[in-house]
């Protein structure tokens, strides 16, 4: 069911490959930073509560 891209196969596949890679990288980095910052904030808040 793969479409026949003919002489433009490289252009079409390169566009899809590059775009999907960039979007996946953006999502993965955003989620990773969100988790890291959330965990760090919890640690700092806990310490801050203990110190009064």
């Amino acid at each position: 069911m793969m479409p026949d891209l003919g002489k433009y196969a490289v252009e079409v596949l390169a566009s899809y490959g590059a775009s999907i890679a960039l979007i996946v990288a953006l999502v993965v980095l955003s989620v990773a930073r969100a988790r890291r910052v959330r965990a760090e904030l919890e640690t700092v808040e806990k310490r801050s509560r203990q110190d009064g």
Binding site: Y8, E11, S15, L26, V27, V37, L41, S48
Partner: protein, 243 residues
């Protein structure tokens, strides 16, 4: 109207965005999946573009979002300048890397598409040049936020940069109409139906655009929550240092 300002409260914003995020992200994934599979596998080649017409499902939505993201940042920056709501400044900061990636996708897919169609990867055409300058503004905006330690000063200066950069966001969209020259064609989508691409490409393109918009919203909601938490952490750490 007062209802919208309740989201200037960071806690309210985080609570609401965390409830919305799974739905927005799920819808984004669904629209992107359906739109890209439909566009790639189920649409025919175009007479003029051959199989390269399939690049439209990435190039047009990404370019639209690159420009729209800057306008969202402009509105958020104006809210910061006028009303001093930290959440709006942080939302603008959160949107910038997403807009920058959309700009890169627009530039890369445009170059790859341009080579077989125009015989060149790049031309100093008004629309392409404005779009490249918009990308440089994105980089400058991100770098300025990172370079200034005081959050309020950073928000002030980046808001001004955002106002200036808006000129290039407008030019990226309308340069073809202003100068009527260059290689880049006019709009692929328009309220005037005669200017639109053919229906067989139009409907999957709309689905892809919806997917890119929802992806942008999901990422900005998540990243704004992260910026709010990062700001709170900086405040707490500064208090610790003063003890």
């Amino acid at each position: 109207m007062n209802a919208i300002w309740q989201y200037a409260n960071p806690k309210k914003f985080i609570d609401t965005s965390e409830r919305l995020l799974p739905w927005v992200a799920g819808l984004a994934a669904l629209c992107l999946g359906v739109g890209l599979i439909w566009g790639y596998f189920l649409t025919p080649d175009a007479e003029r573009f051959g199989a390269t017409v399939k690049i439209i499902y990435l190039h047009v939505p990404a370019a639209m979002m690159a420009i729209s993201a800057w306008f969202m940042m402009l509105v958020a920056s104006l809210i910061w300048i006028i009303r001093r709501h930290h959440v709006s400044a942080l939302a603008a900061r959160a949107a910038a890397p997403v807009g920058a990636v959309m700009t890169v996708i627009g530039l890369v897919t445009g170059a790859i598409w341009g080579q077989p169609m125009w015989g060149t990867w790049w031309a100093w055409d008004p629309r392409l040049t404005s779009f490249l300058i918009l990308f440089l503004f994105y980089l400058g905006y991100i770098a300025l936020w990172a370079a200034i330690e005081d959050d309020d000063s950073a928000a002030d200066l980046t808001s001004i940069l955002c106002l200036v950069g808006s000129v290039f966001a407008v030019l990226s969209r309308y340069a073809v109409n202003f100068w009527n020259q260059g290689l880049h064609q006019g709009a692929s989508l328009s309220l005037d139906k005669e200017e639109n691409v053919a229906d067989v490409f139009y409907i999957p393109l709309l689905v892809c655009i919806a997917g890119f918009v929802l992806l942008f919203v999901a990422l900005v909601l998540m990243r704004t929550g992260t910026e709010i938490r990062a700001r709170r952490m900086r405040v707490l750490l500064a208090r610790e240092r003063m003890k």
